[in-house]
């Protein structure tokens, strides 16, 4: 940027003003059911975590500690904080939050924190401002999750609202509250004048500088960019790759951080015979040119993936060598497996064409472009691809008949792998692979590693287990990572100061202020 004054300086902080944001319409902003910058504007968590150092900072909890086995976590709550419905943030209301998770899980929700609460026992109230959260098994990733919006605290009353409705109707303790919400059109946030419990990482204390945030929900990136260019908006969320370059040239600032969690990957639907074939998955993994995807579809903000988790996560290990673009290798694998090139350039085996359906979010232009490129790349090794753009793809994506799902996942913990790939015999994820030999060359090893990692208190041992899990997933091509997509990507006008991204790569607007 060209600002004479760095954003951190609070000497020039101006109070007041309305921030106009052109944002991507999101059918939900309940932090426990969605991602996005709105989460951090509306809600607080017990802890905060520095995205660069990984150090925890106090927020609604002043102090925290856990036992050596990491089964008991004690939090001392800050005094004076309250939800916007007037309910104080105290031991009882925080207990309601943890108990609420189990309730949500039973109702089919709470997916983001499921892994952390598999062995949840209870929350004990020690005194009005002290609680102890107890698990039956070690939970080394609990604190990291507690420091994200996925475990943001809601007013106890919110848990009485059914999950579907809570997506937009909930009460939290954040620096802003919803003043007006017109679905798919507009969201107006108003600051809480009495807010005085900012995170330890915040650049200021007390209420937010910005009085109002006027959020226009606009699906088209072009329009969002145009609004920033024409001065109508101060922030444009998720600009296009090409557009953002132009916006930056106009003097706007770009904010993003590589996502944390699982990079954009292709998740196979193991119910489909074609992708049950390990050779096919391995060929796909090798035939993809990740550099090209990054350069032409997702942009510089999304570097090629080097593992099945992002480099921002604890436990990440670089497997870039295994993910090298290797057309010849891919061809060889297919040839060896008996897939012969047909007349139309598509491989055949036993009269079956090597034709895969990839499903991906229709509203996400980079994903669409990336799928087009993948289609081209796979074609060169004799794999035909049909693209299936869909909106609101969820757990039933495998029912659509697709072979591969283009998706990523956000999580502050490498434990996300367990959530994704543990196969505990239930049918909760019927699209997942089985352990049979034709599907996996490592037998049941992956399950052992994942279960072990979850309860391993020793960091070094745990990292070793995580590294092994990553390796198996890549070698067996159970996950085909592509690029580390950007997160919290926004373009902001030069007069917007004080923006930052949190540990889950969500934009934080609490510290923001508007210059002249």
């Amino acid at each position: 940027g060209t600002d004479a004054d760095p954003d951190g300086s609070s000497a020039q902080r101006r109070d007041g003003g309305t921030l106009v944001v052109y944002a991507v319409p999101n059918p939900a902003f309940d932090p426990r059911q969605s991602f996005g910058w709105l989460n951090r504007a509306l809600s607080d968590s017990l802890l905060d975590r520095d995205p660069t150092t990984g150090r925890f900072a106090p927020w609604l909890a002043e102090k925290w500690e856990h036992n050596a086995e990491q089964t008991e976590f004690t939090f001392r709550l800050r005094k004076g904080a309250s939800f916007s419905d007037g309910v104080p943030v105290n031991a009882a209301s925080v207990k309601a939050n943890f108990d609420g998770v189990t309730q949500d899980l039973a109702a089919g929700g709470g997916w983001y924190v499921r892994g952390q609460f598999e062995h949840y026992e209870k929350t004990e109230i020690v005194d009005d401002h002290t609680i102890v959260v107890k698990f039956s098994k070690p939970n080394p990733s609990f604190l990291t999750t507690a420091a994200t919006s996925q475990l943001a605290l809601l007013s106890p009353a919110s848990f009485k609202i059914p999950l579907e409705k809570r997506r937009t109707h909930f009460v939290a303790s954040g620096p802003f509250v919803v003043e007006k919400y017109v679905p798919d059109e507009r969201l107006v946030l108003k600051r809480r004048e009495d807010y005085a419990w900012g995170s330890g990482l915040a650049q200021h204390q007390g209420r937010a500088a910005i009085e109002k945030i006027d959020v226009r929900l606009v699906a088209e990136a072009g329009v969002r960019e145009g609004a920033l260019t024409s001065g109508e908006a101060q922030i444009a969320e998720a600009p296009t790759v090409d557009g953002s370059a132009l916006l930056e040239k106009q003097g706007n600032k770009l904010y993003w951080r590589p996502t944390v969690g699982i990079p954009y990957s292709l998740q196979p639907n193991f119910r489909k015979p074609l992708v049950q074939d390990i050779a096919v998955r391995r060929a796909v993994l090798k035939a993809i040119n990740r550099e090209e995807l990054s350069k032409n579809a997702t942009g510089k903000i999304a570097p090629p993936a080097t593992s099945v988790i992002t480099r921002t996560l604890n436990g990440y290990q670089d497997f870039g060598a295994l993910l090298r673009y290797d057309q010849a290798g891919a061809r060889k694998i297919l040839d060896d497996a008996g897939w012969t090139l047909g007349a139309d350039g598509v491989r055949v085996k036993n009269g079956r064409r090597l034709s895969l359906v990839i499903i991906g979010a229709a509203e996400n232009k980079p994903i669409q472009d990336a799928m087009v490129l993948i289609k081209e790349q796979l074609k060169t090794v004799g794999i035909e691809v049909t693209i299936k753009p869909e909106t609101g793809i969820g757990p039933t994506w495998w029912q659509s008949g697709a072979d591969l799902w283009f998706s990523g996942n956000k999580s502050a913990e490498a434990d996300v792998l367990r959530k994704m790939y543990q196969n505990n015999g239930t049918t909760t994820q019927p699209w997942l692979y089985s352990d049979s030999a034709e599907v996996s060359s490592h037998g049941k090893r992956l399950q052992e590693v994942l279960q072990g990692e979850a309860v391993e208190v020793d960091a070094t041992k745990r990292n070793r287990l995580l590294a092994e899990a990553q390796e198996i997933l890549i070698e067996d091509a159970i996950c085909i990572p592509l690029v580390e997509h950007e997160s919290g990507f926004v373009a902001a006008a030069p007069r917007v100061h004080g923006l930052r991204l949190d540990s889950l790569s969500n934009l934080v607007v609490y510290d923001a202020w508007l210059g002249k």
């Binding site: 059918p27 089919g108 059109e185 109508e232 609101g392 994820q429």
Partner: protein, 333 residues
Amino acid sequence: MPDTKTRARARGRLGSRRVSGQARYIIRRVYYAVFVVWAAYTITWLLLFLMPSNAAEVMLRNVSGGDSAADRAAVAALEHRYGLDRPPHEQYLTLLFRAVKGDFGISTATGRPVIEVIGQALPGTIQLGLAGLVLGTFLGLGIALAANAVRAPFLRNLLFSLPPLFSSLPAFFVGLLLVQFFAFGLKLLPAAGAGTAAHLVLPAITIAIPVSAGIAQVTAKSLVANLRSPYADYLRAKGVPHRRILLTHAFRNAIIPATTLLGMSIGGILAGAVVVETVFSRQGLGRLMQTSVTLQDIPVVQGVVVFSAVLYAAANLLVDLVYPKIDPRISIG
């Protein structure tokens, strides 16, 4: 004055007959409007009943937000909760009964009552539709009158070719063009969103263009026919100047078919709203329809379709009620 007395008597005699006739007329029109809405409801229910995908599964996946699979038990519970496990005729009757009470079910995407979702979307569309309707009507009538008033063949041809041109313009293209020009180019008007009058201008123009095309086409054609009709010939033979024939006689007559069209163009406006509200990121029935289709939110899709029939029936009822005021031939009978 004896004059006015007889006149009053004469009026009274005609008037009293009109009242009873009109009461019957109104009852008939209301009855018809109700019928249309009921039939639209039934047909949409039938169409969706025959639909392959399972409403409960769609619902569950929206609830869970991540990717846990639809649990058979959970699906069954949902099916039971929404009555999807009962025999078709029972479902239909319960749903119809609920619909009469204003309950169109629960949106699977948002978990809110459909009627509430629609109610929230409605003001935006009504605002946009009214603005478009008014703008389109004036534009259409203006074009029709001008086309019949100007003498220069070139101008006349140009004006007469406007309506078919207007009806060939895709709304998505017009909208984007307007955004490009007025919002990004001239920076005069906002590109998207709603709230102020300025936000309404571009979408209203976009939606008004096809409306004006229809009205201009019908009115211009009707004006031509009226100007050629025997009564216009006779007016000419009476020494009435062309301009007066056009404005006070032919126009009054030509308005009649235009009025009918106005009622029918509600449908066109709602269809236009799907595209226009999407292009301009406005909340409304059209946008709701678009997102609900992509999210397969069946109850909302059905609700919007039924509601558009309600709007259509209401608009046409209104037209039917003003009709006798415009066409005296209707009033008795």
